[in-house]
């Protein structure tokens, strides 16, 4: 039972820590107290920091060396994440491109696409966003309705609406899932595209959340014209490409911490006069602390599995459920003991309390996750579905009938 690095990992950690010791003073403050106020300036400073990280070999840790990556495994990615947190410096600006879109391009892209996109992505010159979810297609992602219509010259015109698009406002490209054929069952008629975000017909609008901040965007596409060589993977195989992205997303979520911990919550509770002595408060904190510690060791177990060559299965999603649930409970407890002050914008907790209800659905709702785990891990039978084998156009027609 060993929580320590093996010699190879220790050497890698020492190298990363050495680089960060040398360069951490150059890191911009992009989050929280003292952050660069102006958004444009902040993004540009962050972009510059990503470039430095890339030069130091700290970006694209798991990318193959031929594309400028370090050619290492998920364990080394975790080591980099841990050392960035330890040095209290931000990671790369484009965590979506580096963690999910780049790896998907490496798997499914043409040689030309790899040459074109990967280098600028790695160095932060071109940020890439994810255009998957739609207002009516989230957990049931294969139900996207954005249409891509093939033109006579083989190019495509895309129309539709995307949502929850992190970083869209400063992205150069977006990886977009659209329907190219509505007359086949829904998983079959999809195609993935790499769309330039400055193309005519694209409108980006910030989506304000409970906290008042707009961390996500809505993206509207109105007859956006893209050439044939923007197809990522095969026409009609967009679902296969999407599954690759979602697999990398799971790995990416699994290896990143969201910064909450049992000890931080305990300190928050303790700061309220009288809270430490209150038996009910202690019961609530005890349960929260227990779950937070469990999720920390679940993370250690994941690393141990990764070191043994096992990739995380769907059950790893339960770790997210636990962290989000106990952080929601913690926000509630802290607001109870601190009173309305906890909700203030300047408070350590106000943002967290507002942010968490949405996080519950991020990356697929908790209910869908429980279905997936129930079926794939516990082997329980699926609910009957009315969409299996039915052409997408017919499915939509049925929905409309029911509404009428």
């Amino acid at each position: 039972m060993d929580l320590n690095d093996d010699p190879q990992q220790a050497a890698f950690r020492a190298q990363v820590r050495g680089w960060l010791d040398e360069h951490k003073a150059e890191a911009p403050i992009v989050l929280g107290e003292g952050q660069i106020e102006d958004e444009h300036e902040r993004i540009e400073a962050w972009r510059g920091w990503q470039r430095k990280l890339a030069e130091g070999g700290l970006c694209g840790v798991t990318w193959p060396e031929e594309f400028g990556g370090a050619g290492k495994g998920p364990i080394e990615q975790v080591i980099v994440n841990q050392e960035l947190a330890r040095a209290k410096v931000p990671g790369a600006l484009d965590f979506i491109g580096l963690g999910m879109m780049g790896p998907a391009i490496i798997v499914h892209g043409t040689e030309e696409q790899k040459r074109r996109y990967l280098g600028p992505m790695l160095h932060g010159d071109e940020v890439c966003c994810q255009l998957f979810s739609e207002p009516a297609a989230g957990s049931d992602l294969a139900g996207v309705t954005a249409r891509a219509v093939e033109q006579e010259d083989g190019s495509f015109k895309i129309s539709g609406q995307k949502v929850w698009t992190t970083n869209a406002q400063f992205s150069a490209f977006g990886v977009l899932l659209a329907r190219t054929d509505a007359d086949v069952p829904k998983h079959k008629g999809l195609t993935m595209f790499i769309v330039p975000m400055d193309a005519p017909g694209i409108t980006i609008r910030g989506l304000r959340q409970i906290s008042g901040e707009a961390e996500f965007n809505e993206v509207f596409l109105d007859d956006v014209h893209v050439p044939a060589d923007t197809v990522l993977g095969q026409v009609g195989n967009g679902w296969g490409t999407a599954l690759t992205v979602l697999m990398f997303e799971r790995l990416s979520i699994g290896t990143t911490s969201i910064g909450y911990s049992a000890e931080r919550f305990a300190a928050g509770v303790k700061s309220a006069p009288g809270a430490q002595e209150d038996p009910e408060v202690r019961q609530r904190l005890g349960h929260i602390g227990t779950e937070m510690i469990a999720s920390r060791f679940a993370g250690h177990r994941l690393l141990s599995d990764l070191a043994g060559g096992q990739l995380p299965g769907p059950e790893f999603g339960l770790g997210k459920v636990t962290v989000v649930k106990s952080a929601i409970d913690a926000g509630d407890l802290i607001a109870d003991v601190l009173g309305p002050d906890a909700l203030d914008e300047g408070s350590e907790w106000g943002y967290m309390i507002s942010f968490l209800p949405g996080l519950k659905s991020a990356g697929g709702t908790e209910e869908i996750l429980r279905n997936t785990i129930g079926e794939r891990v516990l082997g329980l039978p699926p609910e009957p579905r009315s969409d299996k084998g039915v052409p997408f156009s017919e499915l939509k027609a049925r929905e409309n009938e029911k509404v009428a």
Binding site: M1, D2, L3, N4, D5, D6, Q9, I75, A262, E263, F265, A266, A267, V269, K270, Q276, E277, P279, V281, R282, Q283, L285, G286, H287, G289, T290, E291, I293, A294, S295, R296, F297, A298, H300, R301, L303, S304, A307, G308, E315, L318, V321, T322, E367, R370, N371, I373, G374, E375, V377, L378, G379, L380, P381, P382, E383, P384
Partner: protein
């Protein structure tokens, strides 16, 4: 980072599973509810398997293994509701071992049956060492010890002591003039009364132990060793609970696949499926917490109180939910003697109230965290 089981641990687990198969302990758990004599005495099994010496160092005749190894055995016992007296024997063994006491070897070899009288260390809110009260929420005082060299005179009562009535020796933690002392007492000594209790869960024999001017021998264990006994016991109870949940979940899943209502298997309904996934979530969390407890036992003594309390809290919560979900998935029949579900439910109900209780463990997690302990 390597948290996988070693080959030796895999072997220990398989051996434990094999040893506990010789008796149908689940059936016995049911029969013993009506007839106390039907409870199998597994003492011989545990001595033959060497479990009494699991945590005792090799030079004292033990196996010198870690907490995780002991928890592997406890999980197997929990799996089949086997009345294995680990939670009484092993804490006593760790105290004797830490003290280099002459009795350590005898206990490790299983030559005498010993029961440890649970004593809870102070918390950030409770400055005393305490024991479980007979009833109510106020913690009880430990027995008192008057010392004269190695000799001690003990007075007091300790309630809800696991395996007390079967023991030949008692390891008492008492309040001495300068803090807690461990005292070894012959169970048949003058002034010792053990009221054997056969309660809600027949697989867990308990006793109230009263000591009136009882003469015992002081074991030279320091406070750390005495505290560690409590922590080991918490870890073992947690492991038993994890084993029970691990055994329950597949039973409920199998039924959810097989039983049909309204033309489909009930496991296809989200209302059923999500409950089972919740049990899986709590079970996986509890397994992670066992690993933390075992790791702290070897590497971080300052975190052991937090780690074992978290393991107990998480595992007993999982057990509580799992036993209720099992009943709910099975429908009305799950609440009758036609099914084994009530046996597991009874196990959960009683074990959650012993040794400070699951809520005591939860309270200790909060206390340790607010005292500034940072988990690894």
């Amino acid at each position: 980072m390597d948290l996988s089981l070693t080959d030796e641990q895999e072997f220990l687990r398989e051996a434990a599973r094999g040893a506990l198969k010789r008796v149908d302990t689940v059936a016995a758990a049911r029969e013993a509810l009506e007839d106390e004599s039907k409870r199998p005495d597994l003492w011989k099994t545990i001595v033959e398997a060497g479990w009494t010496g699991l945590l005792t160092s090799e030079d004292q005749g033990g196996a010198g293994l870690g907490l995780y190894d002991a928890m592997l055995v406890a999980q197997e016992a929990g799996r089949v509701l086997a009345p294995v007296p680990l939670v009484s024997t092993l804490p006593a063994a760790t105290i004797l071992d830490a003290a280099d006491d002459q009795a350590a070897e005898v206990v490790a070899g299983g030559e005498t049956r010993i029961a440890w009288l649970p004593a809870a260390p102070p918390t950030d809110q409770e400055p005393r060492w305490t024991s479980d009260p007979h009833r109510g929420v106020l913690r009880a005082d430990l027995p008192t010890a008057e010392l004269d060299g190695d000799a001690a005179t003990l007075n007091g009562t300790v309630h809800w002591v696991p395996d007390a009535a079967q023991a030949e020796q008692l390891l008492v933690t008492a309040s001495g003039p300068e803090g807690p002392v461990a005292v070894l007492v012959d169970a048949t000594a003058t002034g010792v009364t053990v009221e054997g209790l056969w309660r809600y869960d027949a697989t867990r024999p308990l006793g109230h132990v009263t000591l009136k001017d009882v003469q015992g021998r002081v074991v030279q264990a320091d406070e750390t060793a005495i505290r560690r006994a409590w922590q080991v016991a918490q870890g073992l109870l947690a492991a038993e609970a994890v084993g029970t949940v691990d055994a329950l979940l597949p039973i409920a899943i199998a039924y959810a696949k097989e039983r049909h209502t309204f033309g489909r298997a009930i496991g296809s309904y989200q209302a059923v499926k999500h409950q089972l996934v919740e049990v899986l979530r709590l079970l996986e969390n509890a397994k992670s917490l066992l690993i933390y407890a075992a790791w702290a036992f070897e590497n971080a003594p300052g975190e052991l109180a937090l780690a074992t309390a978290a393991a107990r809290s998480g595992a007993e919560h999982a057990l509580d939910v799992a036993t209720r979900v099992q009943i709910s998935v099975h429908g009305g029949i799950g609440a009758t003697w036609e099914h084994d579900a009530p046996l597991y439910f009874r196990r959960a109900q009683l074990s959650r109230r012993l040794l400070g209780g699951a809520s005591g463990a939860t309270d200790r997690v909060a206390g340790e965290l607010m005292a500034g302990v940072v988990p690894a």
